[in-house]
C-alpha cells in the first residue's frame, strides 16, 4: 500500500485520472439529496479527471508504442493478480474521449434527468471509473473487474431512469453482457492455466519468446471466450438484439454514453486482447467475423432507414458504424487498425453529439417520433445547424471526423479483401440516405403546428455542443494530432500478434510522429 500511495503522490497521472471519479462517486453519494451539490461535485470530479488525463498526453506521445504512466501494484500476497495499468497510443485517446465526454453527460443529466439526480450522478462517476480502468488495464483480471464495474452503473441507469419498459430492457442488457463477460472470464482463467500469468505484457512476452505456445484447441477456447464478451458489447451482428431497445429506453445521458463510449469497450477489447491473445484463431475466423461485421453494417443501415423514431434510428446507425470498426480490426493490417481506433474516437464524438442534440429535441417535444416534428429549422435554426454538422460528420463528409476513419477502414478492408470494401461501402451510401431523410422530415418540410412553442438553443445548451463540434472539426481536419501515436501503437500491436504485416511502416529516428507522413516509404514486408 505504501508504494501505491507513493505512486499517487509522485503524480502518476493515470492513478489520478482513475481515482478522481471514484472519489467523486463517494463524495456525491455522501451529499445531501435536495441540493445542487451533487451536480457540482460530479462536474468538478469529471472535469478534474479530464484535466488529469490531459497530463497523460505528453509521456504517451513520447513513447506511443509502449505503456507509459504505469501503475503496477499487487492485489495482495498469494494472488498473482495485479493492478497493472498503463497508457499507449490507443488507450490514451480512448481515455481522453471518456473523460472529455463525461462532463457533458453530467451537464446533460442536469438538464434531462428529472428525478433522483443525485444517484444518477453517483452512477455516472462509478461508470467513468470503470471505463478509464477498462481502457488502461494491463492485467486481465483487473480488466475484467473494471469491465463489470462499468456494467453495473449503466444497468442501473438504464433500468432506474429509463422509459416505461426500461426494467425489462435493462435486464436483457445485463444478462446478455454478463453471459458474454463470464465467458471472457473463462478465457482469462484458461490463459492463466496455460501461462501462469494474468498480465497482458507478460503473456505477450512469453508467447513471443516461445516459452509457451497455445495449441489450436487452446486458441479456439481463448478466442471465442474473449469474442463472446466483446461481440456482445460492441455489438457485432447477430448479438446486437439488446441494442435498439436499450438505446431507445435509456435516459438520454445514458444513451449518450452507451453509444459514445461503452460500445468502444467492445471494439477496444477486440483490438487489444481479442486478436493478440490467440492470433491464429483470430486470423482463421477473421473472414467469418468480417462477414458478420458487413452484415451488421448493411443490416443496421437498412433498419435505420425505416425507423420512425430518431433515437432508434441513431441506435441502428451506431450498429452500422461499429460494424466498420470491427471490419477494420479483422482486416489485420495497419490501415484497418488505425482506421478502427480513429473511428472509435470519431464515432464517439459524432454519435455522442447526435444523441445529445436528439436529447434537446426530446426535452422540447417530449417525443422522439419523427412524425411529431417537422419544420423545426424555422423555429430553431441554430439547433438545426448544429444538428446538421453532427449529421454530416456521422455520414462521413470530408473535413469532418468520420471521414478519416471510414477512409482508412475501407482502405484496410480493401487491402485485406476487396469485396469486403465493396459491400461495406454500401453502408456509407445508406448512411447518407437515412440520415438526410430523417433530417429532412424533422427539420424541414411543413411546420408541425404542435411545436410552435419550440425554442432555439440557449446559452447553456451550447456548453456541451461547442466542444463536440470543435472536436469533430479537429478530428476531420487535422488528424495529424492523433494519427502518429495511434499508428505506432497499432504497429506494435499487430507486430505482437506475430502476424505478417502486409505493409510495414518504417519508424524513423524522430519517432512515431513521422509515420503518417511516411506513407510513400511503405514497403512490402515480404
Amino acid at each position: 500500500m505504501d508504494s501505491f500511495l507513493a505512486s499517487v503522490l509522485s503524480f502518476n497521472y493515470l492513478a489520478l485520472t482513475l481515482f478522481i471519479p471514484l472519489i467523486g462517486f463517494f463524495v456525491v453519494t455522501a451529499c445531501p439529496r435536495r441540493s445542487r451539490l451533487p451536480f457540482f461535485y460530479a462536474m468538478v470530479s469529471s472535469l478534474g479527471a479530464f484535466i488529469a488525463a490531459l497530463r497523460l498526453i505528453r509521456p504517451a506521445l513520447a513513447h506511443p508504442e509502449g505503456f507509459t504512466s504505469q501503475i503496477d501494484q499487487s492485489w495482495g500476497a498469494g494472488t498473482n493478480i495485479r493492478l497493472h495499468m498503463g497508457v499507449d497510443g490507443i488507450s490514451l485517446w480512448l481515455i481522453l474521449l471518456t473523460t472529455f465526454l463525461l462532463p457533458m453527460a453530467v451537464w446533460a443529466t442536469e438538464k434531462m434527468v428529472k428525478e433522483r439526480r443525485k444517484s444518477f450522478f453517483a452512477m455516472l462517476m462509478l461508470f467513468e471509473f470503470g471505463l478509464i480502468g477498462v481502457f488502461s488495464a494491463l492485467d486481465l483480471v483487473a480488466f475484467y473487474v473494471f469491465w463489470e464495474v462499468a456494467l453495473v452503473p449503466m444497468y442501473l441507469m438504464v433500468g432506474g431512469w429509463g422509459g416505461a419498459n426500461a426494467f425489462k430492457v435493462s435486464v436483457k442488457f445485463f444478462v446478455y453482457t454478463m453471459a458474454g463477460s463470464v465467458l471472457m472470464l473463462g478465457s482469462i482463467l484458461y490463459l492463466h492455466s496455460l501461462t501462469g500469468s494474468f498480465d497482458y505484457v507478460d503473456i505477450l512476452k512469453s508467447v513471443s519468446s516461445g516459452q509457451v505456445s497455445f495449441s489450436a484447441r487452446d486458441q479456439l477456447f481463448i478466442f471465442f471466450g474473449l469474442l463472446a464478451a466483446f461481440a456482445v458489447k460492441a455489438p457485432i451482428f447477430p448479438l446486437h438484439t439488446w441494442l435498439p431497445n436499450t438505446y431507445a429506453e435509456a435516459p438520454m445521458p445514458a444513451t449518450f454514453l452507451l453509444a459514445a463510449v461503452m460500445s468502444k469497450m467492445g471494439t477496444y477489447g477486440l483490438l487489444r486482447f481479442g486478436i493478440t491473445m490467440a492470433p491464429n484463431a483470430a486470423h482463421r475466423f477473421a473472414p467469418w467475423i468480417a462477414l458478420c461485421a458487413i452484415i451488421g453494417i448493411v443490416y443496421g443501415a437498412l433498419l435505420a432507414l425505416v425507423q420512425p423514431n430518431i433515437k432508434r434510428l441513431i441506435a441502428y446507425s451506431s450498429l452500422s458504424h461499429v460494424g466498420f470498426i470491427v471490419l477494420g480490426i479483422f482486416s489485420f493490417n495497419q490501415q484497418g487498425a488505425d482506421g478502427a481506433v480513429f473511428q472509435m474516437l470519431a464515432h464517439g464524438v459524432s454519435t455522442g453529439a447526435l444523441f445529445l442534440l436528439a436529447g434537446y429535441l426530446q426535452v422540447r417535444r417530449h417525443s422522439m417520433e419523427i412524425a411529431d416534428f417537422g419544420g423545426v429549422a424555422v423555429l430553431a435554426p441554430r439547433l438545426a445547424a448544429v444538428f446538421s454538422i453532427a449529421l454530416f460528420a456521422s455520414i462521413g463528409l470530408p473535413t469532418l471526423s468520420n471521414f478519416v476513419g471510414e477512409f482508412l477502414l475501407l482502405q484496410g478492408a480493401a487491402i485485406a479483401n476487396f469485396r469486403w470494401a465493396v459491400f461495406a461501402a454500401l453502408g456509407v451510401i445508406l448512411s447518407a440516405a437515412y440520415m438526410l431523410w430523417m433530417y429532412q422530415r424533422t427539420f424541414f418540410g411543413k411546420l408541425n403546428p404542435e411545436i410552435e412553442h419550440f425554442h432555439d438553443l440557449q446559452w447553456r445548451d451550447w456548453v456541451p455542443v461547442v466542444p463536440l463540434v470543435a472536436m469533430m472539426v479537429w478530428l476531420g481536419c487535422y488528424s495529424q494530432t492523433f494519427m502518429p501515436s495511434i499508428s505506432a501503437a497499432n504497429y506494435q500491436l499487430l507486430d505482437n500478434t506475430n502476424m505478417t504485416n502486409q505493409y510495414r511502416v518504417k519508424l524513423d529516428a524522430s519517432g512515431a510522429r513521422a509515420i503518417l507522413n511516411a506513407q510513400p516509404e511503405v514497403t512490402h514486408a515480404r
Binding site: 500476497a77 498469494g78 473487474v145 435486464v171 465467458l183 482463467l189 492455466s193 477456447f221
Partner: protein, 491 residues
Amino acid sequence: MPANFMPPVADYLRVSPEILLTFFGIVVMMLEAVSKGKRTYLGVIALLGLVAAFVANVPGLLVSPGAAFQDMLAVDSYGIFFRAVVIGVGFLSILASLSYLDREDSNAGGEFYALILFSVVGQCIMVTAADLIMVFIGLEISSIATYVLAGFLRDDRRNNEAALKYFLLGSFATAFLLYGTAWLFGSLGSTNLEQIRKMMPDNPTASISAIVAVAVALIFVGLGFKVSVAPFQMWAPDVYQGAAAPASGFMSAGPKAAAFAVFFRIFMTSFLPIHERWAWLMWGCALGTMLIGNLGALLQTNVKRMLGYSSIAHAGYVLVALAAASSIGVSSAMFYLCSYAVMNIGAFAVIGYVASRNERFVKIEDLAGLGRRQPAAAALLSIFVFSLIGVPLTGGFVGKFYIFQAALNSHLVWLTVLGLINSAIAAYYYLKIIVAIYMRQPDVATMQLEAPPFTLRLAMWVSAIGVLVLGLFPAPLLQFATSSAASLAGK
C-alpha cells in the same frame, strides 16, 4: 489404550470453543426457564458466548493446533478456519434475529438463542472431526438443533411443514452416512480418516473393493443431502421458504458450510487416493446442481424460495471445486463458503426485515420501491445480490473466480464453461430483486416500513462490510485458506 486415561489439558484447550458454547447455551436455557417478559438479554448472553468462543478459537490464544482426544478430533488450521466461519455465522444470525423475535412476539426467544448455540457446537465438532464417528456425532448435534429451529414458529403451518420435511429427510440422510461408515468399518476395520486413507490403494488405477465403493457412495449420499446437492436437493426450497427468515439464513450458511467442510475433509483425505473414481460423480452432480438450482430459481416469486434455489446453485459451484480434487480447489471452496455465508445471511436479514410481522411481505413485488422507502437497506441488499451474482469487488466474485480457476487447473474446461454460463443465467433472477427495489413504485400496502432497529442494522452493515472486504482485500484470507488446504491434502 494410553496409560493415563484422562486426556491431557491441551486437548481440553483445543476444544475450548465447544466447551464455552455449550456452557453459554446451557446458561441461556436455564435463564429462559426463570425469566419473565422480554428475552432480548438472553440473546446478548448468547452473543457474548459466541464472542468468547471466537476468541478461544484464535490460534495462539487458547488453541494450539493438533489432534485431540486420541485422534478423534483434528484441530488443524482447516478446522480452525471453519470453526471461525460457523461461529461468525451464529453471531450474525443472532444479531439479525434479536429484533425479529421481538417483532414476532414470540415469548420463547431464549430457546432460539440456545438452539443456535447448540447447533454451532455441533458444527464445530463436525469441522474438526478426524473420525467418521465424530462426524456423525457432530452432525447429529447440529442437525437436531437445526430441526427445532426450522419449526420455531409453532403456529405457522408452512413452518411446521418445513420442519417436518427437514427432520425426516435429514434423519434419512444421517442414516445413509452412518450406514456408509459401517460398511467402511466392516471392510477396512477403521473409522479414522487418516487410517482409511492409508488403506486405500496407492495406484489410482488399482481396483477397489465393491464394499468400499458402496461405502463411498453412501457417504456421498448422506453428505449430499446435507449440502443439498442434486438429486438430493428437494427439501431445500421448501425449508428455506417455510422457516423463519433468520433461521433460513442461519441454515443456509452455518450447517451448510460445516457439512461442506466435512465433505471436503473426508473426500480430500480418506478418499483422495481414489479420486479418479469419484471425480466424474462430482462433475455430474456439480453440473446438475447448478442447473437445477438456477433453472428452478428463474420462476420463483417468493424471495425466500428463490434464495433456497439459489443456495442449491451455490452448492453446485462449491462442488465444482471438489470435482477439481486439488489443494487449490479446497482453498477456493473455503473462501467461497465463507463469503457465501456472509452474503446470504445479510440477504436473509434484509428479507426478514422487509417481510414485516408474520412475514407477510416475502414476494419479490413486495420489495418494490424499497430504494425509496429505505435507501440504506436497499443499498445493502443490492450489495448482497450483486455478490450472489458474482460481480467483481464483492466476495462472491472472488470465490467464484478461484473455484473456476481451480477447475481449469484440473483441466475441467467444459465444466468451467457450463458453470460460467450458469452464473450468467443466475443474474436473471437475482436482478428481479434489483428491479423491484430500484425500478418499481412501492405498493400502498407495503409503504409503512419502519426503519430497521439498531441490532438488525448492525447485522446488515457487518455482513455488507464483510462482503466488500472479502471482495476488495481477499489476499489474507485466501493465503490462510491456501496454507490450511495444503496441510489438509498434504498430510
